[in-house]
Symmetry: C2
Subunit: 337 residues, 2 copies
């Protein structure tokens, strides 16, 4: 087994692009920028955000994907990232697979690793990624720009990641007959989410507000509405879902699609007269975009079915890592960022 | 007990300075910069980098200080930071004290918190800070600029933090009579290190290379020499130490001063004809700077005593979090970054 510095060197040292100073000094140096630098940071904790036996390649992908998704939600172009690794042991095969998944996604987005920190942990693996992107400040997709009359859109399909997580957790009440087949159909959404970076860039100057769905559609849309001082009407039956989620009984379908976290799709708003341009932007980004409601004046999120009737028993509004009432420690749950 | 978002809001939401977008969107936005952006990231793990019962105010200070120290070693001016917190519970008093120590130092350096991530951990507290600074790329103090004939300098005094840590760990062999008195005299260096940001700025255009001492003088100076392709001669008895360390038997004094980590002083090199300007820069920064040796052509670090004789039994060259030989898990040990 090699020493720490040798392991870092072997798996994580890459040549920095021109204009940057990468791994190997007290700080990395990012090139001067005429645009604003978008910054997002995420902690991923074993047993909380991923299973101890997760495929390390998938973990490498996902740990960067959730950060790229934050850049996407801001309309920012990825420029670089730094990585913190707290590891219980130096496992060469694990590090190699983790780095493989990480760099494959980083390379696909032209987002080099420029620095990091590795330390030993006596209590499981913790990953910390801070990512940088570039966006003209006035083009950034903030949460606060939604206006009454705007359409509400969502990219991709919702619910698969939540359904897969429930099956992996062995929740007995999930109403599917062939659990293995449904898991096989949905697991990729949980473990290999595709950050919608190209869509975020295409929505610059077009979307009035945007957020990525990490905690569930209702909660994350709620953040847009709160920041924008608006309410909304959402048609639950318009929310796009996969065949696996569509096959669930209606309450379960809504639970996964409206409340399920870890989706990493974009929820965004745009003026109604921009529908054709939004559709064109989504097509250029290679992802579906579906209209699911409208921003309204006032407060409150009204969720209705296809017949316009209020939907009962909505999923709880997101997950709070520190519930205010005492209770048994939760198991593996979606993250809050 | 309040929920997570309420706790974050209460303790960690500050108004971002003009030109920045702070906590509350998918990303923070840093203003465009004509200079390079220096970036450093550190993970601090409970039981590894700090004791479970550490004063949370001191932890707040130190968790930011170690990152500011990386900026200092680069000659960068702090601009902002982001914070990741993995916590076993939401303890209002702990968070309040932690935030108090953190923001007191952040405010002293004009370095606002602009974003973060909070999550629950089932296994102790982990802190992740990524800090940003500003420096013209050509003025950055890199490790690679030392040249034969340059003086080697160190700021402040070395050894106190290492001695305090050994006493807190209860190492029985530390040869001090009044352990409580010595701990009282040295503990502040361990828990409240002062990052040498002003010195780093004053050394722009003056120092040929710099590093901050986190792993011990010999190891960190070794990084400068390796990056610069040089060797050096170091006079062990010229390394400045406090009265507490000076009172130790000589081998212990050298162990603490040459091998002790967590010092967060700057080790730097500068041309011999710049001695007066270095002294002036240190005086302006309000910290002592002491010449301790000279860079030489070739490889290797020769450590001698005041009489010019080689020093035997040098402290091991720094700590490797993942030793290549199996052994009992180490306890609390200095970090590697």
């Amino acid at each position: 087994m090699a020493g720490e510095f040798e392991l870092i060197r072997r798996h994580f040292t890459r040549t920095a692009p021109a204009g940057m100073l990468g791994v190997g000094d007290d700080c990395a140096l990012l090139a001067p920028s005429a645009e604003a630098t978008a910054v997002s940071t995420d902690l991923l904790v074993e047993g909380r955000h991923f299973f101890p036996d997760v495929d390390p390649r998938a973990l490498g992908h996902k740990s960067l994907a959730v950060n790229l998704s934050d850049l996407a939600a801001m309309g920012a172009k990825p420029t670089a990232f730094v990585l913190g690794l707290a590891l219980p042991r130096a496992d060469d095969a694990w590090l190699s697979a983790y780095a493989g998944g990480l760099f494959a996604l980083a390379d696909a987005h032209g987002c080099p690793l420029v620095g990091g920190d590795t330390t030993r942990s006596d209590a499981g693996t913790t990953l910390s990624i801070t990512i940088f992107g570039s966006v003209p400040a006035r083009a950034a997709l903030r949460r606060s720009g939604a206006r009454p009359g705007d359409d509400i859109w969502v990219s991709g399909m919702l619910g698969d990641a939540d359904l897969a997580l429930r099956l992996l957790l062995g929740e007995p009440e999930v109403p599917v007959a062939d659990r293995a087949a449904v898991l096989a159909a949905t697991r990729r959404a949980l473990e290999w989410p595709e950050p919608r970076v190209a869509l975020g860039l295409a929505l610059r100057g077009l979307a009035s507000a945007a957020i990525d769905i990490s905690d569930g559609l209702l909660q994350d849309l709620g953040h847009i509405l709160a920041a924008s001082g608006c309410g909304a009407r959402l048609c639950a039956d318009d929310v796009p879902v996969s065949p696996a989620v569509a096959a669930l009984p209606v309450p379960w379908r809504r639970r996964c699609a409206l409340g399920g976290g870890d989706a990493y799709e974009l929820c965004f708003t745009a003026p109604a007269d921009a529908r054709a341009r939004v559709a064109d932007a989504a097509a250029r980004a290679g992802v579906a975009a579906t209209r699911i409601g409208a921003v309204q004046a006032g407060a409150g999120l009204r969720v209705v079915d296809a017949g316009g009737n209020p939907v009962p028993d909505l999923p709880r509004a997101g997950f709070d890592h520190f519930p205010s009432t005492a209770g048994p420690a939760a198991g593996l749950l979606p993250e809050t960022t």
